[in-house]
Symmetry: C2
Amino acid sequence: MTKFTEENIDTWENTIRISIPQLSINTVIFRFHNMKLQYVAMKLVHGNLWFIPGGYVCQDECVAEAARRNLFEQTQIHDLVLNEFGTFGASDRRMNAKSDGIEQLEMPEDVLEWITNRFVSIAYYSVITDTNAPITASSLYSDAKWLNIEDNYPLAMDHSMIVAEARKALAKDLLSKPLLLSFMPEEFTIPELQKLYEAILGRSIDRGNFRKRMLKSGFLIKTGLVKGNSRQRPPELYHLHKDNYINSLTEDVKLGF
Amino acid sequence: MTKFTEENIDTWENTIRISIPQLSINTVIFRFHNMKLQYVAMKLVHGNLWFIPGGYVCQDECVAEAARRNLFEQTQIHDLVLNEFGTFGASDRRMNAKSDGIEQLEMPEDVLEWITNRFVSIAYYSVITDTNAPITASSLYSDAKWLNIEDNYPLAMDHSMIVAEARKALAKDLLSKPLLLSFMPEEFTIPELQKLYEAILGRSIDRGNFRKRMLKSGFLIKTGLVKGNSRQRPPELYHLHKDNYINSLTEDVKLGF
DNA sequence: ACTTAATTGAGTATATTTTACTCAAATGCT
DNA sequence: AGCATTTGAGTAAAATATACTCAATTAAGT
């Protein structure tokens, strides 16, 4: 959506009427693609900075619902992992009408004032399986893109911090939340799985020990097939045993006694 | 503060003028007292339910600052651990004028309407050392009390859930945040320390292994004194070696490879 | 058909940590 | 002095983590 039609204006007038003011949602949408951890970002039509998806909370809607609705609008997917990981509430946390390129959208004064106010944002992360399914940009924005998390794109506002915190939350949740169900495709290899862990943790892992640990945990089932793609020994394909995987997750941190 | 004087009204009129609407802070204030984990709660003058401390965020104030200000008003202590652990945003999350006993406070209509609106609350927990320092109740409320977390007091709104989540957050943060600096007095014994861990984790710990682990971590320094209070072998007193303790904390979760 | 480069699958040996115990030491009370 | 109770110290076995080695498998090159 790049131009403000009358319909858009009506939609926005309606949004600011039914939403809680000064409170927003932001969601870091992750996927694992080509051995890289990626997240969704988009640009304002006239802007240079990247924004992660966001939205507002309706008066009659709980915050988690709002996050889910927002996520559905962008992915068309219903059943997604959605985890809250923090609040971003700096006193000067607002969109900049000039530098962010909002001014040039020529929106009505009341809408402009509403959306450029100071906002406290509740941050979620979400994980989707690597597919070709298109990601829809939020209104205001041009097309959404997948950015590699290791590349440092210029993000707007505090969105760099939000993405960094989301990655930390991913790492913390790796043993307690069923992230693999969303991250991995139906069939995958252990080396691919290791690359995901390494991308999330930001460090390398011993190959043999990783394999041993994963196989011992009991949620990897051999398909009997191999992934023949290169001139090396082809890795074996596995799929997740969902129940065993869920059961292997643990709420409590290891304390050592 | 139990009656609405003119000064109170002015204060409240001012609060709703300068604060972000529909956004609140709640803080679970913990201490370890008589071998029990306790938290601060207070009652409305005409109410039967307990409330944990809360407050609002000024327009020109970041959320963390607001939590800190709010906490200072109640404890008169500046340098406190303050950790955000979640957002509570149910769509029907509001004070009930009748059952919570707000109506009987006879506050101005606009103030009543403001504070009984739907609020999204950002939750923090905080830890203070066990002392005799008085806790001041927020305005609206009568005196603040320390409640044992294991006793199930009737809490207002979703405050039971907030307290439960705070305790989970405590457990998660036990190895990564310097909670002992706030929880423990200058001198303490290892059995006392174990009781704190058990209260936070909600399970018992093997005595010998706990002692071994704590001593090996290197942040417990013998004072040479013992705590002679009963007809058993008196436990030795220790104090925290702050640097060693801070260094022993770790950001990353144990993954096993 | 054999060699080579690259990577996977499997395994081993050692060090470290966790877990489940035992037992002597210290205290106040009888 | 004997008793009940809890602390301090330690040990042995089990489980886990860490650092490796080496054969197996594939496609490309010769």
